[in-house]
């Protein structure tokens, strides 16, 4: 679900599932046609108000179907990957206006728009949103890649300082250098595979490793953090620091080839802070430095960057965008001057957690409404 290609593969699976088709001759309930041939036919009694519309794909391949305002192209409802012979129900509350179904199949052909249907009177609560296209997301994705690229240079420089301190055997200096290096990585907004295997090597935790913190595959910032705050010797940490410095350089040289998928960007709007709530505000990411709230602040910066590049796309589509800004500011204010959740009172933690939670609720719709869609 997190990546668009999964949706496509589900569609293909459905397309090949022949037993999903009803037996020929069996009575079929009335439904609106969702295939490219006959798209939107069968909408018998269009009316305003709350209703259930039943869609059925009578075509031979999987279909994607949207209910749109044909004049603007704004989308009221969407079903992706509707398999042949499959029926799906939409719960809608339609107001007066003009509606049409737009159908596409998983072949190369252009989407087909069905007949326009006028509905008189009434107010509905179903919301129409102008779909975002891949084209709309290219410029934001380019801008975000530039941000990451510049951030990687700062990461390398800060990590080199950390390695130098470890190499010098000055563990006090290493502890001081650890946090700026780590937050320079956390600012990049790596969540759910942005940096592939590099993320695990550079910033992974001990979870899932059989020997935990002593597992040879536990590497990167948190492995170093564990050693620096658990009395390990400089000699034993040199390899860890060297490997980390090496991995940050490898990430930098690899990053242009990774070419960020524009479709990932809207997902990042809430995913970065989902991780923050799960690992930083709980304190579970801490391996001794007591800096999970500084990590959280860096994650907020990364989220702000995502929102910044998406803003042109969101401005006219997302009415709650100003609330997002308000709650981002609140979260920043909660994090300011704080480093660890230890020592915070119950009330302080509740305020922090609740602020992050509300912000996440407000960020989540961005993933859905800015997901790239085909419009022509």
């Amino acid at each position: 679900m997190r990546t668009p290609f999964l949706v496509v593969s589900v569609a293909l699976l459905l397309a090949s599932a022949g037993d999903a088709r009803p037996t020929l001759g069996a009575p079929r309930p009335a439904a609106i046609e969702a295939s490219t041939t006959g798209c939107g036919t069968g909408w018998t009694h269009p009316h305003a108000g709350g209703q259930v519309l039943t869609l059925r794909n009578d075509g031979a391949t999987a279909a994607g179907v949207m209910l749109v305002d044909p004049s603007s192209g704004a989308v009221y409802a969407e079903v992706e990957g509707l398999g042949p012979g499959v029926t799906r129900r939409l719960h809608l509350s339609l107001g007066g206006g003009t509606y049409a179904f737009r159908c596409e199949d998983d072949r190369a052909g252009d989407p087909v728009t069905g007949p326009s249907v006028r509905i008189a009177g009434g107010r509905g609560s179903s919301v129409a949103v102008l779909p975002v296209t891949n084209n709309d997301l290219y410029a934001p994705a380019r801008a975000y890649s530039k941000y990451v690229d510049a951030g990687l240079d700062r990461l390398i420089a800060a990590t080199d300082r950390l390695r130098a301190a470890v190499d010098d055997g000055d563990l006090g200096a290493a502890r001081t250098a650890w946090t700026p290096a780590h937050v320079s990585y956390e600012r990049l907004g790596a969540a759910y595979g942005t940096f592939g295997d590099f993320d695990g090597a550079i910033n992974g935790g001990p979870a899932g490793l059989p020997k935990g913190v002593h597992d040879p595959d536990f590497t990167g910032f948190h492995r170093l953090e564990y050693g620096l705050w658990h009395g390990e010797s400089a000699a034993s940490l040199r390899k860890v620091a060297d490997r980390l410095a090496h991995d940050t350089r490898a990430l930098k040289s690899d990053f242009p080839h990774q070419r960020m998928d524009p479709a990932d960007l809207p997902l990042r709007a809430h995913e970065i802070l989902e991780n923050t709530l799960q690992f930083q505000l709980t304190g579970t990411a801490d391996q001794g430095s007591g800096t999970t709230l500084r990590t959280a602040a860096a994650n907020v910066e990364g989220t702000r960057e995502v929102l910044g590049v998406l803003r042109p796309v969101l401005r006219d589509r997302y009415p709650a965008l100003s609330q997002v800004d308000t709650w981002l500011d609140r979260l920043d204010a909660q994090l300011k001057g704080r480093s660890s959740v230890d020592g915070l009172s119950t009330a302080e933690r509740e305020r922090l957690n609740g602020t992050a939670g509300r912000l996440l609720e407000l960020l989540a719709p961005i993933a859905t409404l800015a997901e790239p869609r085909r419009v022509s």
């Binding site: 129900r89 719960h91 179903s126 009330a347 602020t355 509300r358």
Partner: protein
Amino acid sequence: MSARGPRDDGAGGDRRSFLRGALAAGVAGSLAGASASAAAAPADRATTPPARPFHGVHQAGVLDRSRPRTIVVSLDVIASGRGELTEFFRTLTDRARTLTAGGAPDDSGISGPPPDSGVLGPDVPAGGLTVTVGVGASLFDDRYGLASRKPAGLKPMRMFPNDDLDPDWCHGDVSLQLSAEDDDTVVHALRDIARHTRGAAQIRWRMSGFTSPPRPSGTPRNLMGFKDGISNPDATSAAEMDRLVWADRSREPAWTAGGSYVVIRLIRMLVEFWDRVGITEQEQMFGRDRATGAPLDGTREADEPRFAEDPIGKVIPLTSHIRMANPRTPQTADSRILRRSYNYDRGVDSVGDLDMGLVFTCYQQNPERQFEAVQERLIDEPLVDYITPFGGGYFFALPGARDSKDFLGRTLLA
């Protein structure tokens, strides 16, 4: 005391007769002054519990008999200022109104993730849900300018000598109790309400509870094996509820009219220890026969104990729970409480014993005159060796929302 709450007898163990009890309690609430509520109109009574009317002078869930499932939640309000606090109560009321009525939510299209968790399927049945909201003493501190409006008897829960209170499981700005026929109904409601109020309130503690079916009849049993809540004031008597449950107009701020104090106590039962106690000792601690629920001087659970005829406690010991809690004297009649308890069951403790007990909940007009008076009489009762109160709080259950434009807490915040 002579009056008792509605009770199932042998024939009353099925789900629908339980609902009749719940609805009867609801009607009693209306008789006490509620505007007439829309009658429940379930599509299929045999399989779908009817929606419990939401609007009224009193909240649903106060007089209603304990339901099969409940979740008790304590929330701390984190809203910034009075405006956001008001918004919180409006949102909470809107969600309660929607959830208790049931109905399919509209698809969100491409504007966001689905508005509903889907836990109850696409049509979201009401499931007999009740939502009952209270406010704790801490809401009346300096944050929202409510200090002058605090109900006369509202204060933080007292620590009694036999308590072992854990601060993480005590108190809270707001209490929220969700009760229904099924677990999924209350879990769905909690997720919905938490989602819609995020940023305004955080859950401080919560406990799930259940009411056992009658075994084999009558009042349900607690996890010590005894029928619990046999002797309750008569929730169908408006006069009795006015004396014992609803806020006292002569002593309370006007905004509280229609509300009631709720005391919640989370009480661990040391069931392994208890199971190692002989039956005679168990029964003498309660003062009742374990099998029938009858007082030790009677034969049926409905029988009134005759303490006066047993002044030295030869049959029902003077230290028994029922005798200490409710001596049935004219002087103690106004300390009676309306008990609405649930069992809880949540895993094991550090020595491998089962962590289970009672979500004791009671409604009353005046916590000092009632709950605390009862609790003081119970100090050092023999039963204390087998139970450990560890959490809970005192709250004031708000007046009901009168109609579709009203909201819980309106009179408090006006």
